[in-house]
Amino acid sequence: MIEITDLHKSYVMGTNTLHVLKGIDFTVNEGELVAIMGSSGSGKSTLLNILGMLDEADQGTYTLDGTLIHNLNEKIAARYRNKFLGFVFQSFNLISYKNALENVAMPLYYQGVKRNERNEKAMHYLEKVGLAEWATHLPNELSGGQKQRVAIARALASEPKVLLADEPTGALDSTTSYEVMEIIQSINDEGKTILIVTHEDDIAHMCKRIVNLKDGIIIDDSIISQVRVKATSHV
């Protein structure tokens, strides 16, 4: 599904050049649930941004679902993002003046799906994250956990190949974190490929594989035995 070879990225900050990624080789197969770990400054968010086509690598190749991602212009990047990827952010990034249903329906709007079908689909994904009755609420009427579930529903709405989550539980307490992780696990059970950036050990262990980054290189990449979140921990 994802294939990365010899990826480099550096940022120019004034006169200094900060070499963030120093040659990453990395493959993810379909249906995997991968945690990318590392201390702050290890380059894990940068890697995720490059994977998400929100940022571009300086060097190296990136293949997503058989498509070589290179020489992106804004237009193509936008199309690929819409077609291949769903995003979940630490700070949720919901549009504040749109209600939950409208937020979820947004990627479908940009796919050119008609309004009725859009709302129907969005409702389906809201049900999936257990928020059907909150459909007409604005983001500021929802709790942090609910917001993140709306964001997950939004990421799923466009039926992406890969779900990218950047510290999805970073702004949540542990109970709601587990709720969110449970949803992520159940989505993964349905076969969706998911990458999660996190620095929390317990969250990482709820995935199937942990990739450890330090100073811009992968220092450890291992399959683990997944810790399932108990279904009783919420609802």
Partner: protein
Amino acid sequence: MFNIERWQEIFETIRKNKLRTFLTGLSVASGIFILVILLGFGQGMTNGVAKEFEEDAANRIVVWTGVTTVEHKGLNPGRFIELRNEDYDLLIKKYEDDLEFKSSVYRIWSGVATYKNESGSYRVEGVYPDYQFIENASLTAGRFLNYDDHNGYEKVIVIGHKVYKDLFGNKEAIGEQVQISGINFKVIGVYSDPGGEREESRIFLPLSTSQRVFNGGNKVRNMGFTLRPQATFQQAVQHSIAISNEIESFLKERHIVAPEDDSAIDSWNSLEEAKRYYDLMDMIKLFFWVVGICTIIAGVVGVSNIMLIIVKERTKEIGIRKAIGAQPWSIIGMILHESIFVTAIAGFLGLIFSMALLEVIGPNIEIDYIVNPSVNFNVAITTVFVLIIAGALAGFFPAWRAARIKPIEALREE
């Protein structure tokens, strides 16, 4: 443009951001409103000045005399110069090709007119029949003086509307006898004058009669002329100045008056005066335009500012939209579409409101020099479009920049 999904998206955004929409709209609407009102009053002033000049023929020349103040060719100052019928006859012969209507005027001092128990003091003037056109008078009853009256020394008068009201009330005046300084005159006509009451409180009688009955001999108080029309206003003004100067110096020479002695013989021509007024009007109109354009510029700057703030405020939203697959152009389109929609609606509201205001209060405004302020609809509508285009341009650049920001940077923006 006709994408219904896009419209729905925009209406939703507008509905959910009422304050922002209202402020944008307000600045556009007030800009248009102020401009239209300003232009309306500019036009009102032009109308007002034009009306002031309606009271007399537009290309009128008047010559009159007074006392000499300058010693000339051995003659002492202090002589009273009097025009004679011969001066008039010479002048109209000399300028036959230039003059259209001409009349000399003999004024009777202390003209008290009496009809039955009513009486009043009016300007009583002996004039030629042409004087009707020089004064721009129109008859509401009877006829004006004619050359038969003049040649026959008829004791007939034409009275102004004010005189008629004073003496006759609403009764029939034609054929009635009115006494002026104890002498009976028959009323043959009533006239009205665009100049209003001041111009309508006069009594005209044939020049010949006035000179004979009131011991005028062949004296003339002043002379009035109008000039034949010229191709352009500019030519008419030049011609008018030239002729009035020529007439003045001709008479000065004939009466042995120093060329520079304007208190002995002086002339006035309405076109020179009119030109001064029209020049002033042009200046005022220009001023209104400058103020109006500055208002529009202020409006454009205001709209630009708001657009800039809107785009800044929406940077994060733009980032989110891009992250979930929005094309850059769809974002630019969304912002422009919304801004054009809002400025257009607000612009037309301002236009309609200001034009309605001018329509309602315009005709009721009765101040000197301001008559029926109104505005050229095409000018107003052009202004609205200028503002809309300016707003769109002002919105375009920040929107374009925002759409080019990498989503990751936009998302970091808090």
